[in-house]
């Protein structure tokens, strides 16, 4: 009986010490070197962004839900040149030029009245599809520099996880998705022609929060830097709610007026 007791005591002490001396997963991987291929961004995702999210237009309703009148540029730190461009907005001209999607480029689209579906295209690539304007943006985690393609409404988005907690020893991981979008075609921050230029850089931090009632909230803290049309970075936070019911997905084409 006494032997059993000391044996048990020894096991207990081991249980205390063992987790502290054992390497965690990332350390083990590092030591394994080439033998263990690095885990993919999909496998190491600290948050789950997949699903259908709906924008809750509880802020700036009059500028996001409807098209405000020409010249209504309040809230946006445009410079003089930007203001002149905004005052020259002509949706008929955009339509004639086949540019009715100018307000659906990534920096304008994310503030729009959208539903978006986020899904993994492959282990290194997330895609964001919207019903509003039927747009698709691809978020690439690959480090290898992709050859710059033609400028587009959604541009080229580089993605990286910012991870807290290493997931070892049963620890929970948390994190943020950081994305930087460049190579944009010039577009509108607001439907009434408030411009951003092709030199705009759109940086976003994507956070998912679980509310006490189980609802999930996606908060996109973002910055538009544009040396051409802005006096200072345009910084906002946009929130979306996860929808369990996907039935309200309603693809509608770009519209230069409404």
């Amino acid at each position: 009986m006494q032997t059993d007791f000391y044996h048990g005591l020894l096991t207990w002490l081991w249980a205390l010490v063992l987790p502290l001396v054992l390497p965690n997963d990332s350390g083990a991987q590092a030591r394994a070197g080439a033998a263990a291929p690095p885990r993919s961004p999909r496998a190491t995702a600290p948050i789950d962004l997949a699903g259908q999210w709906v924008a809750v237009i509880s802020e700036d309703w009059r500028w996001r839900m409807i098209t405000p009148p020409k010249g209504d540029i309040v809230s946006i730190p445009l410079n003089l040149q930007g203001q002149h461009v905004a005052e020259a907005w002509d949706p008929a001209k955009d339509e004639a030029a086949g540019e009715q999607c100018k307000a659906y480029g990534a920096p304008g689209l994310m503030r729009g009245p959208i539903r978006m579906r986020i899904s993994w295209l492959d282990d290194n690539t997330l895609q964001v599809q919207t019903d509003y304007g039927v747009q698709t943006r691809v978020l690439r985690f690959e480090r290898a520099a992709a050859p710059p393609g033609a400028r587009s409404w959604q541009g080229a988005t580089a993605a990286e996880w910012i991870v807290r907690g290493d997931g070892g020893r049963g620890m929970t991981t948390f994190g943020t998705l950081k994305t930087v979008t460049t190579n944009l075609r010039p577009g509108y921050l607001r439907k009434n022609g408030v411009p951003y230029s092709e030199r705009a850089v759109f940086t976003e931090y994507w956070d998912v929060h679980v509310l006490p009632n189980g609802d999930r909230l996606l908060v996109d803290t973002n910055v538009v830097d544009d040396p051409v049309y802005l006096q200072s970075p345009f910084q906002t936070a946009i929130h979306y709610k996860l929808e369990r019911d996907a039935s309200r997905w309603d693809p509608t084409p770009c519209d230069a007026r409404f």
């Binding site: 309703w61 405000p68 003089l80 620890m171 956070d207 929060h209 909230l217 803290t221 936070a237």
Partner: protein, 332 residues
């Protein structure tokens, strides 16, 4: 239970405890932050229009109470501090100062201070429970928090009756509770509030705002966190009169309909108008007004800050009219 079984149980419990430690990626939030008013600028700057409840999920009770509101109401002594509820900063031009309170090297509270707050907001991090539902409701409410990764998750209860949005009378009851998420990314601080109010809201009201770290912000008078009352309308003093409109007699009830062609149900804050499908209704009802009206110009010009672009020509009916526009030189 004999000794061996007891020890085995201890082994199991200890191993589980040690191996399932939660992440505790606490972030240093301390410092001063400048507000970035690139959202809801009119609401947070000059003040919104009476009758503008767009973007609000209001109940019938909330809407009815809001429509009794006149701009003289907050001038009554009893109501001068009503606008200054704990998370009113989401709707104010509010710089912030944040610091921690430490006991034996451990952070036991984060404290937020800033102009337009009636009191500092103290987020208790030491695991204390919320008081009884019958406990006193202090001006700051009662807030506890914990970390989830880099986000400080907080819960505020025990608030006083307040106005959710300043200057238009949208009410928040003392049964409101807030879930708050505070996240810092590099120099940006994001505060997201989710307000639940069983009296005046039909669904949780979500607001997300951004501040930027700025060592020069929220110092001295800009972080005083106090509310002083004074006699603002002498004829009202000691009369017991409460300025208000009777039901159905608010002349601004349809202001947003008249001025911006916004349907009444959206102007007066219904939850279903906050979601994209409402645009199907809007499409047949809405035509943009011919011109912008008031408060049209870019934010920097309105603030008159250094670095504002000179020569902005934006027509804004709230701007002083220049001499040139008056049609003459000095003295006219």
């Amino acid at each position: 239970m004999n000794g061996t079984r007891l020890l085995r149980t201890l082994v199991l419990l200890t191993a589980l405890t040690v191996m399932s430690r939660p992440a505790s990626a606490q972030v240093e939030l301390g410092g001063s932050y400048s507000v970035r008013m690139y959202e809801d600028y009119i609401e947070r700057g000059p003040g919104s229009y009476l009758g503008d409840f767009t973007g609000m999920p209001m109940s019938d009770e909330g809407r009815a109470k809001a429509l009794l509101y006149t701009s003289s109401l907050p001038s009554t002594i009893e109501r001068q501090c009503l606008a200054q509820s704990p998370w009113v900063g989401q709707y104010r031009p509010l710089n912030l100062r944040i610091w921690s309170e430490v006991d034996n090297g451990r952070v036991i509270a984060w404290v937020l201070a800033g102009d337009y707050l009636r009191d500092t907001i103290r987020i208790w991090m030491d695991g204390r429970p919320h008081p009884s539902a019958n406990a006193w409701h202090p001006p700051s409410g009662f807030t506890t928090g914990h970390w989830e990764g880099d986000t400080l998750m907080a819960r505020t209860t025990h608030v006083k009756t307040a106005w959710i949005r300043r200057g238009v009378g949208i009410p928040g009851s003392d049964r409101s509770e807030f879930t708050v998420m505070i996240t810092r990314h590099d120099n940006l601080l994001t505060i997201t509030t989710v307000q639940e109010d069983p009296i005046y809201l039909t669904e949780p009201h979500v607001v997300s705002r951004v501040w930027e770290f700025d060592p020069n912000a929220a110092q001295d008078n800009n972080a005083r966190s106090s509310c002083n009352t004074g006699n603002e309308i002498p004829p009202l003093e000691d009369t017991g009169k409460v300025p208000h409109y009777l039901p159905g007699q608010n002349p601004d009830e349809d202001y947003m309909v008249r001025a911006y062609n916004i349907p009444r149900d959206a102007a007066l804050g219904s939850a279903y108008t906050l979601y994209p499908e409402y645009r199907k209704i809007l499409k047949n009802l809405y035509t943009p007004p011919a011109s912008c009206g008031r408060y049209c110009c870019g934010w920097i010009e309105r603030q008159g800050l250094p670095g504002a672009a000179p020569g902005l020509t934006c027509k804004d009916n709230n701007q002083p009219v220049s001499n040139e526009e008056r049609g003459g030189g000095r003295g006219r």
